[in-house]
């Protein structure tokens, strides 16, 4: 390598050193994530014989298609519901006093630190017929509440599990918003809700987008929650993959299903990501 100047060489060395720090992380990711992923990709083409038969099967099997579409649909719904719930919560965190903020943070995090299994079974008990919610609804003369095994139960259970992933990106974006802009808008005659809708909401958009994406992608892989709170007629893709691999030992087909999920997710993220960028560009201009 030819050095142009001393300074450039120094920078290059420093850059190199900084790069070296990432090596352990890269090695670990290659070994425990990229390698298995490539291995899975290979199996989807090679088992039991080389070819695209598993992909042909995925796209001609009504069951696979129904489940893939259902998984996408449930993930979109969960992401929307979670962000809608997380938004006011994160907003409250930005205006709360530091000690209340700590309390609010803990309220989000404590369930997150609790065993997923314990939480899911807690929902199970709450949702079941003759359960506490059922009795509550009956005593309020709202009729019984029997949602165990339904998509609603799965959505609630998933939204609760995944809430921190929406609250924290939203909070970190909102924290950076200059609240004096709102006062300025109100000072110039905007009503509170108008100031919020025209100033605050657009400025918080990056947080909305990143939390929505995060929740959407994480939702695609849920297994335990739909397995326990849902029923087989609303099974999601991870459950179907588990049946294929774990029970029928069909590693090829199961791998193909997983690869299709990764590709479909990538395409959706790419398309939505592009659209979001254009959208946020426009926002900045308007602001």
């Amino acid at each position: 390598m030819t050095r142009v100047t001393e300074t450039a060489g120094g920078i290059a060395r420093r850059e190199k050193f900084r790069g070296a720090g990432a090596i352990p992380g890269v090695v670990v990711l290659m070994a425990v994530f990229v390698a298995p992923l490539l291995f899975m990709l290979w199996r989807s083409f090679s088992e039991p014989t080389l070819g695209l038969q598993h992909y042909a099967a995925v796209f001609t099997d009504r069951t696979s298609l129904v489940i893939i579409l259902r998984t996408l649909e449930v993930s979109v719904i969960v992401a929307v519901v979670t962000v809608l719930l997380a938004y006011p919560y994160a907003y409250l965190m930005t205006i709360a006093t530091p000690s209340w903020r700590t309390v609010l943070t803990l309220i989000v995090l404590i369930p997150f630190w609790t065993s997923l299994m314990a939480r899911t079974f807690a929902w199970y008990v709450l949702f079941q017929s003759n359960g506490p919610l059922d009795h509550l609804f009956e005593s309020l003369h709202l009729g019984g509440l029997n949602i165990l095994g339904s998509a609603v139960a799965v959505t609630i259970g998933m939204a609760q599990v995944i809430m921190p992933f929406a609250v924290f990106p939203l909070y970190s974006t909102m924290q950076g918003i200059d609240r004096t802009l709102l006062q300025a808008a109100q000072g110039l005659g905007a009503r509170r809700h108008v100031a919020f809708a025209r100033i605050y909401l657009p400025l918080s958009r990056p947080g909305i987008i990143s939390s929505w994406f995060l929740v959407f992608v994480l939702s695609l892989g849920f297994y335990v929650t739909p397995q326990i709170l849902g029923s087989s007629h609303n099974a999601l893709l991870s459950q179907y993959i588990a049946i294929k691999i774990g029970d029928q030992l069909d590693f090829g087909f199961g791998s193909a299903l997983a690869v299709v999920l990764v590709i479909v997710t990538g395409v959706i993220l790419g398309a939505l990501g592009g659209a979001a960028k254009v959208g946020s560009g426009a926002t900045i201009e308007r602001v």
Binding site: T63, I67, Y124, Q128, S231, H233
Partner: protein, 357 residues
């Protein structure tokens, strides 16, 4: 779903609920050895109350007597066995396994067992269907009904009651696996044990569709217990080992023996098991009359050994266990394990297509 996915998932869920307990028990299983001999063995079953019973009745005393150091693991996972065998790194030595998968994968995922080294003379010959497995205990599924809900009515006495929503209204629960559902449905169609196989899936699903609005599904054994304990369903098809647990805790359910499918599991040795000799010793020990009798006291699955004693019918376990005398007294269907081995993928593909639709 080779075998007992649902049971396995039940185990997983149970592990989640009682992780600490499970670890303690695994530790007990591994710490049992006190003898002076040598050797090691890794023992694997489906977990839950069945594995607890095996640990007490078979694993611990075997370790004590032989001096073999036994390590326990759970649950039996065929995908894991396949991965181990493919990687040439098998760590499990003896597993409690479903007959159809062992038949299907005999010689590929499971070792052929030298039966001359094992005394199987007290196991009925008709149960010895594969070179890779030694029958180990009697299991199966039974229809249970809520005795409070149907008080004053004639007790349900056949699979027909499951479909008779006029006489016996209310929700009925089935497992999310064809292995726990389709035989009973088929029997309610043909009313003849000899005509149940081959299963006609179109007819089975059409029949199930007649009560679809009353059907609910359990995915795990823990869920089945929960459904019974909280009286969410008036009928349920599940395993006696689980049903007896719910009933012991006060759930008002009784078995319908004329609506039952009797089957059994096998001990199998995964291909390339590092301690196959100890595995054979263990199998030989565990199918003996003594350990089998002790096992039958612990959990409502029955001994495979005809010389083993079974608990009195006055106890919950005795009332619920699938003993040989019950199959003589009632119109019991014996599972055709060979049919399942031959039709595994077809059955599961059709069932998932129906259930997710």
């Amino acid at each position: 779903m080779i075998g007992r996915t649902t049971r396995r998932r039940g185990v997983l869920a149970a592990v989640g609920l009682t992780a600490v307990l499970g670890m303690t028990m695994a530790a007990c299983g591994s710490g049992g050895g006190g003898g002076s001999g040598s050797g090691e063995l890794t023992f694997v079953a489906f977990g839950g109350s069945t594995q607890d019973a095996m640990t007490k009745a078979m694993v611990d005393p075997f370790a004590q007597e032989s001096g073999v150091k036994v390590t326990s693991d759970q649950p039996t996972d065929y995908a894991k066995i396949k991965a181990m065998v493919e990687a040439g790194n098998t760590t499990w030595d003896v597993v409690d396994a479903d007959v159809p998968i062992v038949m299907q994968e005999c010689g590929t995922l499971f070792e052929k067992i030298d039966m001359s080294k094992i005394d199987t003379s007290d196991i009925p010959d008709n149960l010895k269907v594969t070179d890779c497995g030694v029958p180990n205990y009697r299991t199966g599924v039974v229809l249970y009904y809520n005795t409070e809900a149907y008080a004053g009515k004639p007790a349900p006495d056949s699979w027909d009651a499951f479909f008779d929503t006029k006489t016996y209204p209310g929700k009925r629960a089935i497992g999310a696996d064809p292995l726990y559902v389709v035989e009973g449905v088929m029997k309610s169609i043909v009313h003849d044990n000899d005509k149940v196989y081959p299963i006609d899936f179109d007819k089975v699903f059409a029949k199930l569709d007649t009560i679809k609005s009353d059907l609910v599904t359990w995915n795990t054994g823990a869920e089945a217990v929960q459904m019974m304990s909280s009286k969410q369903v008036n009928m349920i098809i599940t395993w006696p080992g689980r049903a007896s647990v719910a009933v012991d805790d006060g759930a008002p359910y009784a078995p319908v023996w004329n609506a039952s499918v009797f089957a059994y599991d096998v001990w199998a040795i995964p291909k390339g098991a590092p301690h196959a000799d100890e595995a054979i010793k263990f199998i030989n020990y565990a199918i003996g009359a003594g350990p089998q009798s002790e096992f039958a006291k612990q959990v409502a699955y029955a001994p495979i050994n005809t010389k083993a004693t079974v608990p009195a019918e006055s106890t919950t376990i005795g009332k619920f266990s699938m003993t040989f005398d019950k199959q003589d007294k009632y119109d019991v269907l014996q599972r055709n394990q060979k049919w399942w081995a031959d039709n595994w993928d077809m059955a599961h593909n059709k069932f998932s297509a129906w259930s997710v639709g």
